[in-house]
């Protein structure tokens, strides 16, 4: 999404829509005109735990701020002093390279001091409880905690015992708010008119165990998307009920195991990672069958719109849920997701930093 537009010189200031197209015949006077400005919003979130309680305006604010952060990433010096003196502790109870490094880069780009804790190596393995670990981190002077945990709801427990800000880098099956926001940013960046409203977006794969899917469901339904979830019935367990529940805004929500119907005319296809454990836990037949019926292949992708975006939260099992030629093909925006991840996380670190101890 582009934050700057070109304007006819001398026009009285009208609010310009972010991502607005260049007006035909706009006079260019040697520099791009003043950037789009946004309605001043009050941002309520002291933590980033989930996107279920984000208003549409807050989502827009994240998108706009991320665009500014992306501009910083294009500079020779990719750093601003905004969070100088702020201490960010990153503690991941579940291994992850991509998200952890993304947060670290984001925090450092804002000049924050970063402490990285791999929970396996810390006293957590000696049986220290989550609450005690958080208290220790607070005593060590952390202002912000970025955490990933294998149990749904863990960040809420952490937030209750921490006087600073908690950002959720993924909890159990429940939520991955920063991922959903960077996914949305990426979609808006590539889709015509910079909007997802009314677009057909398909989330394909192991939805049941996916926090990426759940958080995307919130952001996409709030954005008025035509949302489809597709996968084997055992991995869609319970989502038909969600699809039947009251949805905000103008979204539609369909759950199906019919992959052809799901992909037909899709504007975005997001493939989710399938783990070998699913076969072992009795949820699926041997994964060969999953690949045969549900993998995102070139042939299946051809059912979607010719400009459809291919996305994946990573890490990918190429050859299992997504074929290599699709993952690296022209429609793939997977590497943009990674870049945008840094910008979105910078935006979120910035936005929560201004919120004091609340209500």
């Amino acid at each position: 999404m582009k934050a700057q537009t070109e304007r006819v010189a001398g026009e009285p200031g009208a609010a310009v829509e972010p991502g607005g197209a260049v007006e035909p015949g706009a006079a260019v006077t040697g520099a791009v005109g003043p950037g789009a400005h946004h309605e001043h919003e009050v941002w309520r979130h002291r933590h980033i735990l989930d996107v279920d309680d984000f208003t549409i305006d807050e989502i827009e604010l994240v998108m706009a701020t991320a665009a500014e952060m992306k501009e910083i990433l294009s500079r020779p010096i990719k750093k601003v002093p905004t969070l100088r003196g702020t201490s960010v502790t990153i503690i991941f109870w579940e291994a992850s390279t991509r998200t952890r490094v993304s947060f670290e880069v984001a925090a450092k780009n804002l000049s924050a001091d970063v402490v990285n804790i791999a929970a396996q190596a810390s006293s957590v393995t000696k049986g220290e409880s989550l609450v005690d670990t958080i208290r220790t981190i607070e005593a060590l002077g952390a202002d912000m905690i970025v955490m990933r945990h294998g149990t749904s709801g863990a960040p809420y427990l952490a937030a209750e015992h921490f006087s600073g800000h908690v950002l959720n880098g993924g909890d159990g099956w429940h939520a991955h708010p920063t991922q959903a926001l960077l996914d949305l940013y990426t979609m808006r960046e590539h889709l015509p008119e910079g909007t997802v409203a009314g677009r057909k977006v398909v989330i394909l794969g192991d939805v049941l165990h996916s926090r990426v899917a759940r958080s995307n469901i919130w952001t996409l339904t709030k954005s008025g998307v035509d949302l489809w979830l597709c996968g084997p019935a055992t991995l869609l367990r319970g989502f038909e009920r969600w699809a039947g529940a009251t949805i905000p805004g103008s979204a539609t929500f369909t759950v199906t195991s019919d992959i052809e119907r799901a992909l037909e005319g899709a504007d975005v296809v997001m493939a989710l990672r399938i783990q070998k454990e699913r076969q072992e836990s009795g949820l699926l037949p041997p994964l060969r069958e999953y690949t045969a019926r549900f993998a995102l292949t070139r042939e299946r992708l051809a059912l979607a719109s010719p400009d459809a975006l291919v996305m994946h939260p990573g890490p990918m099992n190429e050859g299992l849920e997504i074929m290599p030629d699709v993952a690296t093909g022209t429609q793939s925006v997977i590497t943009d997701q990674v870049t945008n991840g840094v910008a979105v996380r910078m935006a979120l670190l910035f936005l929560v930093s201004g919120v004091r101890d609340v209500e």
């Binding site: 279920d52 309680d53 409880s129 989550l130 609450v131 945990h149 149990t151 749904s152 709801g153 863990a154 809420y156 427990l157 937030a159 209750e160 909890d171 159990g172 099956w173 429940h174 939520a175 926090r211 759940r214 367990r237 319970g238 989502f239 009920r241 969600w242 039947g244 529940a245 009251t246 905000p248």
Partner: protein, 495 residues
């Protein structure tokens, strides 16, 4: 108006009540099938006099609850009987002891409590049972403590415990609560227990279906990313247990009796209803939290089950309302409160409504608290790792009164489910039917439905502060609890 006179204002806990006069209180006596304004006198620990005022709204409480505009002031009822509580001693005294449990029970208006045997060591042998009963008797708090004996050795499900010895030592029945009695043994336990005149209480759970489960399988569990606890895990076991009971009655022992404890699903209640209609000796109890709380509390909502049921905008496949707390502004607090993690899990509003209907129509015999205190260490952890259980013996009356105030059950019926109902479940091996009977040792509770109390850690006598109602006000402040003619609890502000 009511007045009361309690002679010897500094009466100690455990001391006999020398003289107590209650004028114009609302007496509720389910054994006599009546409620209404009355005057009551206790003399030297015995209920010496009970004068019903005529022309009262005395009525049987069966059927739909009616709002009672005539009820004034304080209410007196027989002391409550809790069929199902955990006092954690021996083995887990950090969470509760028999003494602290009795104090909590008295605060809740209970004068009889039946303890489950999942202690360490478990109550699977007579000596352990005797120790527990002796501990309760010598505590000085006149709350009668009874015990369920374990059905299987060490509750491990591999062989019958010494059921006969346990009966002789005073066991009121048998249960492996916390765990189901394995299908292989259940038949034999039912038969043997029938022979001994004792009821078998089964915790109906198919553990294969609930492996790793964290929350009721439903919309809330799906959205919160919690592993589902399917209804079939309870319903299938209830159905199976009833079928086995039928075989036992036909071939082994016509005296066998089956009690299903903490039934939480609409389907489960339905199975019990049908079994009763067929004349089978099946009884069941439900907990206050399954009547009034639902799985949407896990998402941070705090509506009573009937409010969620009514306000819920969505309908499930069968047309029953489902609560969607994200649509609207029902979310009142943070999600994943580990105090809400309980076995069986909090279910949907439709289930709770079905439980309330079962309570009204008599399918539900008793309200039992399943009081399950836990230490902070075991509860203040990630939701999926938290120990199961709600510390509920002190909040039971309050929850029940909220339901009465909302018209979901009549006061008479509710008190019946807390007194006469549990006694009937236990049968001759248990307690005499609680009643306000002149000439008997006084066993009663006096409470004020109009006066509330704030549920807080300091207000709870139990060591277990794991209540989801912390910070909430409940109606029905207990003013006085008298057990076997002695003072069990007295409100600090009572004159």
């Amino acid at each position: 108006m009511s007045s009361r006179a309690l002679a010897g204002a500094d009466l100690a806990i455990g001391a006999p009540v020398a003289h107590l006069e209650l004028d114009g209180v609302w007496a509720v006596d389910p054994a006599a099938g009546r409620e209404g304004p009355a005057d009551l006198v206790v003399e030297e620990g015995v209920l010496a006099d009970l004068e019903w005022h005529e022309s009262s709204g005395a009525r049987r409480g069966r059927g739909r609850a009616t709002s009672d505009g005539q009820r004034h002031g304080l209410v007196v009822a027989p002391g409550f009987v809790d069929l199902h509580a955990h006092f954690r001693e021996p083995g887990f005294e950090d969470a509760e002891t028999i003494v602290t449990g009795q104090a909590a029970a008295a605060h809740g208006g209970f004068t009889t409590v039946c303890l489950m045997p999942n202690t360490e060591p478990p109550i699977d042998e007579a000596p352990t049972l005797r120790t527990v009963l002796a501990r309760a008797a010598e505590s000085g708090i006149p709350v009668r403590v009874l015990a369920w004996g374990a059905a299987t050795r060490r509750r491990e499900g591999k062989g019958m415990a010494e059921l006969g010895d346990l009966a002789e030592a005073g066991a009121i029945g048998y249960s492996d609560d916390g765990a189901p009695i394995p299908v292989g043994l259940l038949r034999n336990v039912l038969a043997y227990a029938g022979m001994l005149g004792r009821v078998v209480a089964d915790h109906a759970e198919d553990r294969e279906l609930t492996s790793g489960a964290e929350a009721n399988e439903g919309l809330i569990g799906t959205i919160l990313g919690l592993k589902g606890w399917p209804r079939s895990a309870e319903e299938s076991v209830i159905a199976r247990d009833i079928a086995i009971l039928v075989d036992v009655l036909g071939s082994d022992s016509s005296a066998a009796r089956l009690h299903l404890t903490h039934v939480s699903t609409a389907g489960g209640i339905d199975l019990v209803r049908r079994a009763k209609a067929a004349g089978l000796p099946v009884t069941c109890d439900v907990t206050p939290h399954h009547l009034a709380l639902t799985d949407e509390w896990l998402a941070g909502a705090r509506r009573w089950s009937w409010q969620a049921w009514q306000d819920g905008p969505d309908r499930d496949g069968s047309g029953a309302p489902t609560a969607n707390p994200w649509a609207g502004d029902a979310l009142a607090g943070p999600p994943y409160d580990p105090a809400l993690k309980v076995n069986p899990p909090l279910r949907t509003p439709s289930d709770a409504i079905a439980l309330l209907a079962g309570l009204r129509d008599g399918t539900v015999d008793a309200i039992a608290t399943d009081h399950a205190p836990h230490t902070l260490v075991d509860k203040e952890v990630e939701f999926g790792l938290a120990a199961n259980g709600i510390s509920g013996i002190e909040t039971a009356l309050g929850i029940v009164l909220v339901a009465v105030e909302a018209g979901k059950v009549s006061l008479l019926r509710a008190v019946e489910a807390l007194t006469v109902g549990p006694a009937r479940v236990l049968g001759p091996a248990g307690v005499p039917a609680p009643a306000l009977e002149v000439g008997r040792l006084a066993d009663l509770v006096l409470f004020d439905p109009a006066d509330g109390w704030l549920v807080s850690e300091s207000a709870l006598s139990s060591r277990g502060k794991n209540s989801p109602l912390l910070g909430r006000s409940l109606p029905g402040r207990v003013l006085l609890t008298v057990g076997a003619g002695r003072l069990a609890y007295r409100d600090p502000d009572l004159a």
